[in-house]
Symmetry: C2
Subunit: 113 residues, 2 copies
DNA sequence: CAGATATCTCAGCGACGACTGACACACTAT
DNA sequence: ATAGTGTGTCAGTCGTCGCTGAGATATCTG
């Protein structure tokens, strides 16, 4: 017997296995920086080059380039050169990847089912 | 005249006003910690007390209590005592607030319209 | 060619935040 | 009352991460 000392004391579930949150956590970490979050928001209305984003953010180009590299490694943005301006690097959102990332965060904020 | 030196060089938009991302940023910062993210995921299947969460996370109660305080200040979780167990503090998700937070993140990851 | 512009990379520094440890408070049991 | 349990608070420490600065690469202009 497990000796129910107190009649109605709820038994603790100490064996709970913590769910895997790696995927949504990685997305949240990316979004948890003001510059990266703002970049994603700016790119919602079309592609922009690094110097435009840097000017909008009031940050230096190399810093913005670093953030864009992080976003690109995660697949949220794409880099491309335009034929009319091969000197600048234009970044645009990968809407499919962004939607997938948004869905991942649902595992933290949406009800279970 | 503005002297179009290069015929088709796209003009930069250096006057871009960065959009306000404070609200979704605050949510992302909250989710960008493994323990807080895991807590939110665990609470998806019902209320749990601090010691249960601490055991599941392999963390100490005071640390978990700190994270729960952060989540509570943001309104994502509620604390309540149950009549059957007035000693422990039970935490449960505020599903409405979680859904609202999820919608806020849409301003970063969802297409513009 | 040299010079200017735009971007990328990376080592080093500094600040923010999570964890620790100690303590306080509330409630229960003996 | 005393001991034990569960939770909350907070100062201090330490690791992590964003920013800086310097340098490299690539493209265009004169």
């Amino acid at each position: 017997m497990i000796s129910p000392a107190s009649p109605t004391l709820p038994e603790l579930r100490l064996e709970l296995a913590p769910p895997d949150v790696e995927a949504p956590l990685a997305i949240a970490v990316l979004l948890a920086d003001r510059n990266r979050a703002t970049i994603l928001a700016i790119l919602r209305d079309g592609p922009h080059c690094v110097c435009e984003l840097a000017a909008a953010l009031g940050e230096r180009s190399n810093n913005v380039s670093n953030h864009l590299a992080r976003l690109r490694e995660a697949g949220l943005v794409r880099a491309s050169r335009q034929a009319a301006d091969t000197r600048r690097m234009y970044y645009e959102r990968d809407e499919a990847a962004c939607a997938a990332a948004f869905a991942q965060l649902g595992a933290l904020l949406e009800p279970k089912r």
